[in-house]
Amino acid sequence: MFEIKNLFVNYGGIEAVRDISFSVEEGKIVTLIGANGAGKSTTLRTIAGLVKAKSGTIEFMGEKITGKDPASIVGKGITLVPEGRKIFPDLTVLENLKIGAYLRSDDISKDLEWVYSLFPRLKERSWQYGGTLSGGEQQMLAVGRALMSRPKMIMMDEPSLGLAPLIVRDIFSIIKEINKEGVTILLVEQNANMALQVADMAYVMETGRITLSGKGSELIDNEDIKKAYLGK
C-alpha cells in the first residue's frame, strides 16, 4: 500500500535521513522507533510533503507521491498528527475538527459523530477553545482532527510525548481502535515499549538509517532493543 525506497533527506543542514526503505501494509500498525534525532520525524514530515526529499521515492496506492505539496498528500488520504499536537488554540474544538475536513466538500456530520464517539470528552467541550484543553485532550483533538479528513493512512508523531502514563495508555487503546476501523497507522515513538506492543511491524532508526526491523512482538524480546530502548 505504502512504500519508501532509498529515501535521502537533508534537513537543517545535516543528512537527517540516509537511504531508508520500508513499506506499510494496508490495515496494519507500523512503528518507527529510535532515539531523539534519529530521523523519525523528518521521515514523517517528508511523507507529509512539508520537507522535500533529496532523492528516493515514496509510493502510495501505486502512485508516486514524492515532492507533492502537503494539500495534495492530504487529498490522497495520508494525514499527519504532528509532534506536539499543534491544535489551533484560538479555534474552538468543533472548528478544530472542521478544519481537519478542510479539503472535503461532502457531508461531514457522520465523521463528526464518529470522532465524538471515540472521544466523548471532545463532544462535551466542543464549544471551548482548543487552547483551554489539557494535554491529553489536545492529543485526542489532534487525532480526531486528523480523522476528519477520512485518511487511509494516519501518521502520528510522538503521540505520547509529555502525557501522563494513564493518558498514554488511553491514547494507545484509541490507536488500536482506529486501526480496527480500517485505518492504516504509521507511528513514530520514543516510547518504544508501548509502540512495540501495538505494532504489527517495527523499524528501528539510528542516525538516519534503519538498523533493525521485524514484527513488533519479536523486537520486544530482542536483547539489543531491550538494552537500548526499553531500559531493561
Binding site: A48, L50, P70, V74, F88, P89, D90, K98, Y102, G131
Partner: protein, 303 residues
C-alpha cells in the same frame, strides 16, 4: 453639551476620517496577523485607488468606474503579494519588510510618472459630494455615510472571518503555517485572499477620503496610511476590532485638536499645526503604557 455643539463639525469629520482610517487600518492589521509583515505599500495602494478613479472617471460613467476601481485595486493587492512577498515566504522577516518599502516607493514613483507630480482633481461623485446641514453644521453626505458604511463592512468582515470556511482558514494560517498545510489548506491562497480583502477596503476608503480632500498626489497615501498604521498599532496589531476602535479614536482626537477647542488656554487654531504630531505622541504614550495595544495578542500561549 455646549462643547459638543460648538465642535459638532469637527466631531463629524473626526468620525468620518476615523472610519476611513479604520478601513485602511484593517488591511494593515490583517496582513500583520497572517504574515507578521507591516505592509508599507498599503497606503500607496490606497493612493493608487484614488488615481485610478481620477483617470477612469474622465472617460467612463461612475456606475462603471467605481466597481472597476474596486476590482483593479483588489488586483493590485493580489499582484503585489504574488510578486514582492510570496517569493520571500521563507526569507527573514526583515527582507520582506524591505521589499514592502520598495513596493511603496515603486507605486509612488509610478504615480509621479503618470501625474507629472501635479495634484489631480478628484471627481465629484454624485450624492457623496452633496452638502447637507446637520444641526447647523454644514458637511458633505460622505461624512455621514462613512461611519455607517465602515460599521457595515466591519460586520460583514467579522462574519466572514468567524463563520466561513475561508475565514476559519485565515485564523488557522495566522496561527501556524505548517499545521494549516497539514490540514490541506493552501496557505498562499489564504494569504492572497487576505491581501485582496485589505485592498478592497482600502479602495472603498479612497472613495470616501478623496471625496472629502478633493485632490490626489503621489504622496497622498503616505499620511493616511501612516495614521491608519498607528490606529492598528494602537488597537493592538493583528486585531480587527482594535484597529477599528483605534482609528475612530485617532480620527476624532485629531479633528478636535484641529478644531475650535481651546485646550490649556491656547485657542484651537494654535494647535492645528500639531495635529499630526499629536497622533504620534499619542502612539508613544500608548506603547509605553500598553505595549500590545488595546486588544493586542497575548504574548504567551499555553502549549
Amino acid at each position: 453639551m455646549e462643547f459638543f455643539h460648538q465642535n459638532l463639525s469637527y466631531f463629524l469629520s473626526g468620525i468620518s476620517v476615523g472610519g476611513q482610517y479604520a478601513l485602511i487600518a484593517i488591511g494593515y492589521t490583517m496582513v500583520y496577523g497572517i504574515l507578521r509583515l507591516i505592509n508599507f505599500a498599503h497606503g500607496d495602494v490606497f493612493m493608487c485607488a484614488g488615481l485610478m478613479m481620477v483617470y477612469l472617471s474622465s472617460t467612463l460613467p461612475f456606475t462603471i468606474t467605481i466597481p472597476l476601481v474596486l476590482l483593479l485595486t483588489v488586483l493590485l493587492g493580489f499582484v503585489i503579494e504574488r510578486v514582492a512577498y510570496m517569493p520571500l515566504r521563507s526569507a527573514p522577516r526583515m527582507s520582506v519588510m524591505i521589499s514592502a518599502i520598495g513596493v511603496s516607493y515603486l507605486l509612488q514613483n509610478a504615480a509621479l510618472y503618470f501625474t507629472g507630480g501635479l495634484a489631480k482633481v478628484y471627481p465629484e461623485i454624485p450624492f457623496l459630494s452633496n452638502s447637507i446641514v446637520i444641526w447647523d453644521a454644514t458637511t458633505r453626505v460622505v461624512t455621514i455615510v462613512t461611519p455607517f458604511l465602515t460599521v457595515v463592512l466591519v460586520i460583514l468582515l467579522t462574519l466572514l472571518i468567524k463563520h466561513t470556511k475561508i475565514g476559519m482558514a485565515m485564523r488557522a494560517v495566522s496561527r501556524d503555517f505548517e499545521t494549516s498545510q497539514l490540514m490541506g489548506i493552501k496557505i498562499n491562497r489564504v494569504i492572497s485572499t487576505t491581501f485582496m480583502i485589505g485592498s478592497l477596503l482600502a479602495s472603498v476608503a479612497s472613495l470616501l477620503y478623496f471625496t472629502n480632500y478633493a485632490s490626489v498626489t503621489p504622496t497622498s497615501g503616505a499620511m493616511p496610511g501612516l495614521k491608519a498604521f498607528v490606529a492598528a498599532v494602537f488597537g493592538g496589531i493583528g486585531s480587527i476590532p482594535g484597529a477599528v476602535i483605534g482609528a475612530f479614536i485617532i480620527g476624532i482626537c485629531e479633528n478636535i485638536i484641529k478644531g475650535g477647542a481651546s485646550i490649556f488656554g491656547i485657542p484651537g487654531s494654535g494647535w492645528t499645526t500639531f495635529s499630526d504630531a499629536f497622533t504620534f505622541a499619542f502612539l508613544i504614550v500608548i506603547l509605553v503604557v500598553k505595549p500590545t495595544g488595546l486588544f493586542g495578542e497575548k504574548a504567551v500561549d499555553k502549549v
